[in-house]
């Protein structure tokens, strides 16, 4: 991390600390204060949007571990999120287990399913892996749609609201706190994971897995670990999503969503902590913008009927292409530049 000049480290732990200067701490405090007082002045609608953003950040962070750090492209992320969502839904609805059990097992089972589909990654990569994750996406959704006795099939399944210690989290605001706490934990842990031995192994595998293997990195263990962690977070996000929406069916987890997740981490910046957050903000806020704007545009310019449904995919497809071509390091890179220029001001 780049620091202002004059900051010295006198111990290793100091050197490794995430927040170094007083300014860092002040910014962190301001950010947290702003976030946690949010429900006081955000409308219910916007709280809902923020909740969705939080959930998506968790999922995107998972994908970022898998794709951004470890280099294993997954086009089935929505499928793994679905596994988590349905696990949690079935646990709490059909078996009436507590929410926290549902949440944790959602992560665990999604992680395990991810590992199974990640096994081919030991022998194949690039396009092959992409295809096998697409297959995972379709197989998972198909099973969900057809195992009616368990999942409710095409109709869907209703999910009781999350409850912790007898307190049921029904309102947007109460869910907001739940989701934000999970987001903060996830982001914090991922940031540290990336700087650990495991994170370095992931990056080595991403850059050249053969060379990594020769250096003594156990590919089998680390690739599967990446799949487990990435899909674990997908499962957590799925569980939160299920309890947040209260009712769902497999339509919430299409391949289009999977592609959108890839788009998010690319737009945000692969292999950075801040990247998925920025990418999710970009896409979700753009979606809001489109929801507001397209009826207006449609009325004023007499657009054809498909305008509203078509605009979203067109904009996002274009955004993915443009970012890949013009700014492959994503918004995170921009963000770093902005910070640097702020620090170096007035030069």
């Amino acid at each position: 991390m780049s620091l202002p000049t004059g900051i010295r480290s006198y111990s290793y732990s100091q050197d490794m600390a995430v927040f170094r200067t007083r300014t860092h701490w002040v910014w962190l405090a301001v950010l947290l204060a702003f976030l946690f007082t949010g429900p006081l002045y955000w409308s219910n609608y916007w709280l809902g949007v923020v909740n969705l953003i939080g959930i998506t950040v968790i999922a995107a962070t998972g994908l970022n571990i898998l794709t951004g750090y470890c280099g294993q492209l997954s086009i089935g992320h929505a499928g793994f999120i679905a596994v988590g969502a349905y696990t949690s839904a079935i646990m709490t609805n059909r078996f009436e287990l507590p929410f926290l059990v549902g949440l944790i097992s959602a992560g665990g089972i999604a992680g395990l399913v991810g590992m199974v589909f990640g096994i081919p990654s030991l022998r194949v990569k690039g396009f092959y892996l992409a295809i096998s994750t697409i297959a995972a996406q379709f197989i998972i959704i198909w099973v969900i749609n057809h195992w009616t006795s368990l999942t409710g099939g095409f109709v869907g399944i209703s999910v009781p609201p999350a409850s912790i210690g007898g307190i049921s989290l029904v309102s947007q605001a109460s869910q907001f706190y739940l989701i934000m706490i999970v987001v903060i934990i996830v982001v914090f842990l991922t940031n540290n994971l990336a700087r650990s031995r495991v994170g370095r192994a992931f990056v080595a595998i991403r850059d050249n897995d053969l060379a990594a293997q020769v250096m003594g990195i156990n590919l089998f263990r680390y690739k599967l670990l990446a799949f487990f962690l990435g899909c674990f977070l997908a499962g957590i996000a799925g569980s939160l999503l299920a309890h947040w929406t209260g009712f769902m069916n497999a339509e919430n987890f299409t391949m289009t969503d999977s592609i959108l997740y890839i788009g998010m981490i690319i737009i945000g910046g692969l292999g950075t902590t801040i990247g998925p957050i920025l990418g999710v903000l970009f896409i979700r806020l753009a979606q809001q913008g489109i929801t507001f704007l397209s009826p207006l545009l449609e009325d004023t310019f007499a657009m054809p009927a498909g305008f509203t449904t078509g605009l979203g995919p067109m904009v996002f497809g274009l955004a993915i292409m443009l970012f890949l071509i013009l700014e492959p390091r994503g918004l995170a890179h921009r963000w770093a530049l902005i910070r640097a220029s702020y620090r170096l001001w007035p030069f």
């Binding site: 081919p120 194949v124 690039g126 295809i131 096998s132 297959a135």
Partner: protein, 294 residues
């Protein structure tokens, strides 16, 4: 037994159409090493364009079909020019995801221009079905199979004999050495995209004249992936053999498994095959095993 024959013949013929679309994939892969994940969306947009030509604009087939192929070639040129060319030499991750971006864009455009979700094409081939033994096949299927085989032969000859085909293979081997011969590599990429799109257009028309135009056509494109995975990414022969296998598995397997398991089992068979191939023979039936060195 008659039932089996019916499943088998439908399977093989429909598999030939998958093979046709898969040929387009192999073409691009062979000449530029790019995995084209837009296949499904390309099939979709070309089918709709055919609808636009034949139904909305009311052109006769002899005029409409060449226009469709022309349009496809144009789309291929555009996609290569705008999305792929700036990324020449970038890591495979970028190349794959940029085609996903294109796929997304095309999907949006289709629902923008053709907001209807389903439509039917006029019949391109005569109505009355053909009897093959005890089985009955509609002519569309047979035509589809014949066209696929013809195109396969042409493509194979093209890559073996034609100058451009040879150069396309050379590019797959060593891009820079081709450039050093003063050959415009970018133009070669562009051509292979144009060809591939033309193939996707023909495949799309055949698919949608059989089953109508629906969003499900995107999945036809995905089935083409299972064909290339099974056949081997860089093998035309692989595609043409694996296509019917996938079609057979889908129809015969679907036909016999549906009573035993859940309905709709046939939709999932190609994807299960992908996973199985990935576990036991990742380079497919005929694919070259790439040697990798550090």
């Amino acid at each position: 037994m008659a039932e089996f024959g019916q499943f088998a013949i439908t399977g093989v013929t429909v598999g030939m159409v998958y093979a046709l679309i898969a040929l387009g994939f192999v073409l691009i892969w062979k000449s530029s090493g790019v995995a084209n994940l837009t296949l499904g969306q390309l099939v979709l947009v070309f089918s709709w364009f055919t609808y636009g030509m034949l139904v909305q604009a009311g052109f006769p087939v002899w005029l409409g079909m060449p226009l469709v192929v022309l349009f496809a070639v144009g789309v291929g040129w555009l996609v290569e020019r705008i999305a792929l060319r700036p990324l020449i030499g970038q890591p495979i991750l970028s190349l794959i995801t940029v085609t996903l971006g294109v796929a997304f864009f095309i999907e949006g455009m289709v629902s923008f221009i053709w907001p209807k979700s389903v439509a039917a094409l006029p019949r391109l081939f005569p109505d009355e079905p053909v009897h093959v033994g005890a089985a009955v096949v509609s002519q569309e299927y047979l035509w589809a199979a014949v066209i696929s085989v013809v195109l396969f032969v042409l493509l194979t000859l093209f890559f073996k004999r034609h100058r451009m085909g040879i150069v396309m293979r050379a590019v797959a081997d060593d891009q820079m050495a081709v450039q050093a011969c003063g050959i415009p590599v970018a133009q070669i990429f562009s051509r292979s995209w144009m060809f591939a799109c033309a193939l996707a257009a023909v495949g799309g028309v055949l698919m949608s004249s059989i089953g109508g135009i629906t969003f499900g056509l995107v999945e036809t494109g995905l089935k083409a992936f299972s064909v290339v995975i099974l056949g081997g990414l860089d093998s035309f022969l692989g595609a043409i053999v694996a296509g019917p296998i996938i079609g057979l598995a889908e129809n015969v397997g679907g036909g016999y498994l549906t009573p035993l398991t859940w309905p709709g089992v046939r939709e999932i068979i190609p994807f299960v095959i992908i996973v199985i191939v990935m576990f036991i023979r990742p380079h497919g039936l005929f694919g070259e095993r790439r040697i990798e060195r550090i």
